[in-house]
Symmetry: C2
Subunit: 213 residues, 2 copies
């Protein structure tokens, strides 16, 4: 299908693209499926007195892990089973679902950064030892990039500023309003949810380019 002219044009475009991209910092993207962070109080209600989470695998952010434990999310219209619990425990219970999950549950999750539950919905969580109703904390996580201070300083990125991130591929997109989260406790990593991953044709481990202005 390719004649010489096409080929020449493609080579030219690829070269332009590479040189264009070389100045932009790369970031590894990981896709967050639905998951739950539990407070120690809720952990005990759902799994039993003095219960401790069992790590299943470490996550990229230092100290964070996917636990062996799962819970059931119950909404007014439906339930979702086998929802992974992430550890360690947090101050407040937080349920992170996609908008698509929201249709199944009958809950429209607000888009919020982690820990910001203002205006968010509640749900019921069920574990092997019991159930708990949370009044708020069901969110669709705002896409974000964890980054160490040194990285942020190198590129002049301020904590909680918004970035643009380009993702190449057949569903190429520029994600705008990507929240920068800067801390020396963080490894460089971008998080998007499954809706965003599917829309952009992204799999965990793919790279994005931070389009600095």
């Amino acid at each position: 299908m390719l004649d010489d002219l096409d080929l020449k044009e493609i080579v030219q475009k690829v070269k332009e693209k590479l040189s264009e991209m070389s100045g932009y910092p790369k970031v590894t993207i990981n896709v967050s499926a639905r998951h739950v962070h539990l407070s120690s109080e809720h952990l005990e209600i759902l799994f039993g007195k003095n219960y401790r989470l069992s790590p299943l695998r470490e996550l990229m952010q230092p100290g964070e892990f996917a636990a062996k434990e799962t819970v059931i999310i119950v909404g007014p219209k439906g339930i979702i089973q086998n929802v992974r619990v992430l550890g360690p425990v947090r101050k407040k219970t937080q349920v992170e679902i996609s908008k698509t999950d929201g249709f199944v549950l009958g809950i429209d999750p607000v888009v919020r950064d982690s820990g910001n539950h203002e205006g968010s919905s509640g749900c019921v969580l069920v574990g092997p030892a019991g159930g708990v109703r949370i009044e708020e904390g069901v969110i669709a996580a705002m896409r974000h990039i964890h980054m160490p201070v040194q990285f942020a300083e190198k590129y002049g990125i301020k904590d909680r500023s918004f970035l643009k991130v380009l993702v190449e591929g057949e569903r190429k997109v520029v994600f705008d309003r990507v929240l920068a989260r800067v801390s020396d406790n963080f490894a460089l990593e971008m998080h998007i949810d499954t809706d965003e991953a599917n829309a952009a044709g992204v799999r965990s481990g793919d790279k994005g380019f931070i389009l600095l202005e």
Copy 2:
């Protein structure tokens, strides 16, 4: 929460944004949920001899309609019920699902423009009168803009070229690789699937801006 300085800054930014945008053509975005186009042969197998689709509501593209009829999609891992049939009948049966639907069914849909079934998966469809196995035709529709010739000519857009479309909002994105489809049978309308809509926080009827270069 807003002091005068903030407010001034916001007004300024909105003004800048409006003037920046005013040069770009707007397009109405409609969200395509999963649906099926049937060949007349498959329509008869699924619904009975000499069966005719009953229009439920007209779609924006002239002559196209959502039918009252629904089918069941069966994949190796699961089924999806109540999948809307769109009319009129087409030469080839085509099943349009999201990547998310693909996980439920156990089918990974390739991203293709309508009618291009190269390398696509098959599935089983079930209707009230019977079932049919299709060998190919299950796709995730490539996002696209239908446009009349006059509009395309005005902005120098070629049929089957790729466009960039900006969508404002809390999940602001620039969709790249949006396929232009030019014909005098078309009304100006952009189609994205539910994954893309959720990722960008778009509802049917929202507007996008075509970022001409």
